[in-house]
């Protein structure tokens, strides 16, 4: 259970989360960001209910690839999965590398930001190719250490400024609140990536409980930390930095705070990078194995049993994406893009629960969401509104997501049938399995 909570929370804790937290604070008035964050966490709990039912029904490391395949069809499942993985890798690598390289360049100005990016990507790529996983007890130590650090730093700051809520329940207009909650969802992005553990845990319900516990703990920690940040440093100042947590740490504890926050940020980014690269490279390997990506991506290292071509491809994509973000400084677009994509996936998870209740009514469900279709319907409505809000308020996100979706649709409808046909042509003409003789056709 401890590891399930650590895995779920660890995947969401990232350096770019601090940027998203400041973004949330800027959408609402005064020191009311905590309201948007708690609401965001609560809404993600709706999605967590849906993932709990889906995971219990179809426990598999394939995750949404399998849920959407069964609920809709293979093409929808493949299109959404590829789009999701694309957004995740671009979002995670782009935003994370930008935030952390800015932070490290601030601490050690002699080293240019891109050098830090290359070093980090090389480290994580090397770890992935060697098959070194941050798992089990190490994941627990890192995640609980991160959460403790955020909580401690937040409480120290609140104590130092003798914090009192000025206008605790006046967050401002509806548009600002909805935008804040929509971006607030980004703070919890990835909590459901714990579902691949379904094949490893002895009790499926542990995954559900772990997800819920992680969301609860993270909501409180993010709320305290964000309130402390905005109470210590003006929101406008925080928003003008790509590493606002460093500015905050410096204001609270000076040099010691900078060292502490640098360690926190490094650990957060490395675990996020590692988890992102691990999940996406395995997805690429599995997709190539089912002939929906070129065969080369299924190549495995004979020494370490890891999909090295997929990992190296992601390394190269990471270098390009990071370079582009470093030149354009549009890292916030990636944060909003990931929030919108995550909301879309949650909408589809709600739809999948309803669809699978119709398609597989007799199938055993270790966990079934109570109150009929109320929670899935709420999930669909809430996250549809949040996704639309992000897309309407950020035209760049809309354009990027539309282009990516179009490319995925074209790929799935043209390249995938071609690859599958090519594979069929290469297969042996006859099956290896001997034909069974018909009943009663005994030899004489």
């Amino acid at each position: 259970m401890r590891t399930v909570v650590a895995t779920s929370a660890g995947l969401t804790l990232a350096s770019s989360s601090f940027v998203a937290a400041v973004s949330v604070a800027n959408f609402v008035l005064g020191d009311t960001a905590w309201i948007a964050i708690l609401v965001g966490g609560l809404l993600c709990t709706l999605a967590a209910f849906c993932f709990s039912e889906l995971n219990g029904l179809l426990p598999s490391a394939a995750g949404i690839r399998l849920y959407f395949n069964r609920a809709f069809n293979d093409r929808v499942s493949l299109t959404v999965s590829i789009l999701y993985m694309l957004v995740v890798i671009v979002g995670v690598v782009g935003a994370e590398s930008y935030v952390l390289s800015t932070l490290l360049s601030d601490v050690i100005p002699a080293v240019p930001p891109y050098v830090w990016i290359v070093l980090m990507l090389l480290l994580v790529t090397g770890m992935n190719i060697r098959g070194i996983k941050i798992a089990g007890i190490f994941q627990d130590i890192i995640t609980y250490g991160l959460m403790f650090s955020m909580l401690a730093m937040g409480l120290i700051a609140l104590f130092k400024v003798d914090f009192q809520l000025n206008a605790p329940l006046s967050p401002g207009g509806a548009t600002g609140i909805i935008s804040a909650v929509a971006v607030g969802v980004f703070l919890f992005v990835g909590f459901e990536w714990v579902t691949p553990l379904a094949e490893e845990v002895t009790q499926i319900r542990q995954i559900s409980r772990g997800m819920m516990a992680a969301l609860g703990i993270l909501s409180v920690i993010y709320a305290i930390f964000t309130t402390a940040m905005t109470a210590t440093v003006p929101k406008e100042v925080l928003a003008s930095f790509a590493a606002p947590h460093l500015v905050f740490a410096r204001a609270v504890l000076g040099g010691a705070g900078v060292t502490w926050m640098t360690a926190v940020s490094l650990a957060a980014t490395l675990t996020t990078f590692n988890a992102g690269l691990l999940s996406v490279s395995r997805f690429m390997y599995a997709t190539a194995r089912e002939h929906a990506l070129p065969q080369i991506f299924s190549k495995i290292s004979m020494r370490y049993f890891t999909p090295w071509v997929s990992i190296l491809t992601l390394f190269l994509i990471g270098l390009v994406v990071s370079g582009v973000i470093l030149l354009t400084h549009r890292y916030l677009v990636l944060v909003h893009l990931a929030a919108a994509m995550e909301s879309i996936v949650y909408v589809m998870a709600g739809l999948a629960v309803i669809s699978l209740r119709r398609r597989m009514p007799e199938q055993e469900r270790p966990y079934r969401i109570p109150f009929g279709n109320l929670v899935p319907v709420l999930t669909i409505l809430v996250f549809a509104v949040l996704a639309l809000t992000v897309l309407v308020t950020s035209p760049w996100v809309l354009v990027n997501l539309a282009v990516a979706l179009l490319l995925c649709l074209v790929y799935v409808n043209t390249a995938v049938p071609y690859l599958k046909k090519k594979h069929q042509a290469r297969r042996p003409a006859t099956r290896r399995r001997p034909q069974r003789r018909p009943e009663g056709a005994g030899g004489n």
Binding site: L66, N69, R70, E199, A286, I300, R432
Partner: protein, 117 residues
């Protein structure tokens, strides 16, 4: 629907092919695992045991397997004869594997090494 004998034969062919592949045996010499193969539509259970890189097959189910491969008899026979890759049935839910993700990938890799793409 495949019969228990057909599944046994597919696993025997798989075991034979594996043990003839010296490279695979060297690569898996530290990967000692017990794999149970279980059909959902016929009464058929087998245990593959990997020790020091060599695999052996037994009928019946071991008590504490590291991996459990569960599917309908047709899919199991087709997978172990190498007529289909495990990934397709895995992604559409026909095939379920209980175990660690790393072990699942290793098993898929062994199938890739034996049967090719």
């Amino acid at each position: 629907m495949a019969t228990h004998e057909e599944i046994t034969e597919s696993l025997r062919v798989f075991t034979e092919k594996y043990n003839k592949n010296e490279r695979l045996k060297i690569m898996n010499r530290d990967w000692n695992r017990v794999v149970v193969v279980q059909a959902t539509d016929v009464d058929s259970q087998h245990t593959l045991t990997l020790v020091d890189g060599v695999v052996s097959l037994k009928e019946g189910k071991a008590s504490n397997p590291d991996l459990t491969v569960i599917s309908d008899s047709e899919t199991l026979a087709d997978i172990f004869y190498g007529d289909i890759t495990p990934t397709g049935p895995y992604n559409n839910g026909t095939l379920r594997i209980i175990g660690s993700e790393d072990d699942i990938i290793r098993l898929d890799f062994i199938s890739l090494m034996i049967w090719g793409e």
